[in-house]
């Protein structure tokens, strides 16, 4: 039992460690969100609460930008609802790995299922079986990754709210966000189908950029999925 606990702890810490570099992308994002929320007239306590309740960076930034532009509640809810739809796809992707866990674990991991936690945890689950511990404790790894991002997000939001106006825009810290996506994308592009999915999604995101409600982003991801499936089929036919 003591040995199992030790393994759970080491999986948790490994998750924290592997998520840590992603904080370089998430922390500036969280601070920018805090700054933008204050600028949009959102009370600081509500901005901080949103980081715990919504816990989705891109959607939170869209919300404060739309609030600053004077948008109503319904368009804002629709836009963030569309933007966050991808989390259902992450949920489906994770289902086979966490289905056996007790409900309290699945509720907790669902709450922590962000872009960054998904990216790190899914790589752990997809690693070759021989790298896995004898008993499956990889949910502890998922928890470590998710918790690290959650803590970083809450603290960076608070930092953005506290130091808001004093961070010079010339630092361009928001650029760390696309850099994070570039790094993750490169890690995921090992096979032909994934490359096709990424290329199609990137081109579609540009072609559909003018669509309202950020619908273009959701459509681009769906088109990327189709391109990936089509490529798998074509490769199987060629064989």
């Amino acid at each position: 039992m003591a040995r199992a606990e030790k393994t759970a702890a080491s999986e948790f810490l490994a998750g924290c460690r592997d998520e840590a570099p992603l904080l370089l992308g998430a922390v500036p994002f969280g601070m920018i969100y805090g700054i933008a929320a204050l600028a949009a007239g959102v009370p600081a306590w509500i901005a901080q609460l949103a980081s715990a309740v919504v816990f989705a960076g891109a959607a939170q930034l869209v919300i404060v930008q739309m609030l600053a532009a004077g948008a109503g509640a319904l368009p804002i809810a629709l836009t963030s609802g569309l933007l966050n739809l991808r989390h259902m796809l992450y949920s489906a992707s994770m289902a086979e790995y966490v289905r056996h866990l007790p409900r309290r674990w699945r509720l907790l991991l669902a709450y922590l299922l962000t872009d960054e936690a998904y990216a790190v945890a899914v790589l752990r689950y997809q690693r070759r079986e021989d790298a896995a511990p004898p008993a499956d404790l990889r949910h502890w790894y998922f928890l470590g990754a998710g918790f690290t991002l959650w803590a970083g997000w809450q603290v960076s939001t608070a930092a953005g709210l506290l130091f808001g106006a004093t961070i010079p825009a010339e630092w361009e810290l928001d650029f760390a966000v696309p850099l994070t996506f570039i790094a993750l994308l490169t890690l995921l592009l090992r096979e032909r189908a994934g490359q096709a999915a990424a290329l199609a999604a990137a081109l579609a995101a540009l072609a559909l950029a003018a669509l309202p409600y950020k619908l273009g982003l959701v459509a681009a991801i769906l088109l990327g999925l189709l391109a990936g499936v089509w490529t798998v089929r074509r490769l199987e036919h060629a064989r």
Binding site: A77, A92, L107, A110, D115, L179, T180, L184, A205, L206
Partner: protein, 108 residues
Amino acid sequence: MSTPSLLALLVAVGILTFLYRYAMIGLFARHSLPGWLHALCRHIAPASFAALTASALFVTGGEVQFAFDTPRPWAALAAVLVAWRTRSVLATIVAGMAALYLLKYLVF
């Protein structure tokens, strides 16, 4: 927007986002994933991050702008090369930010 309606909006978005996240690992966990959905899911991460990257680099206010006379696309290119060589998230972000600052103060 008044504070109560703002609060209601954020709680609604939060509940919706949680339901998305819990949908397949909780609400429909007893249902096994259909084969086609499982095939789709392999491509979710590359498609999502590619769309978000392209959008972050080249879309400004709903319009596509290839601003090759600014440092960002070139710093992103440097980051791609470092990511490809090192496969390290940390090295990629550090290299990309360093390239951005260098290009900004030396070239553009």
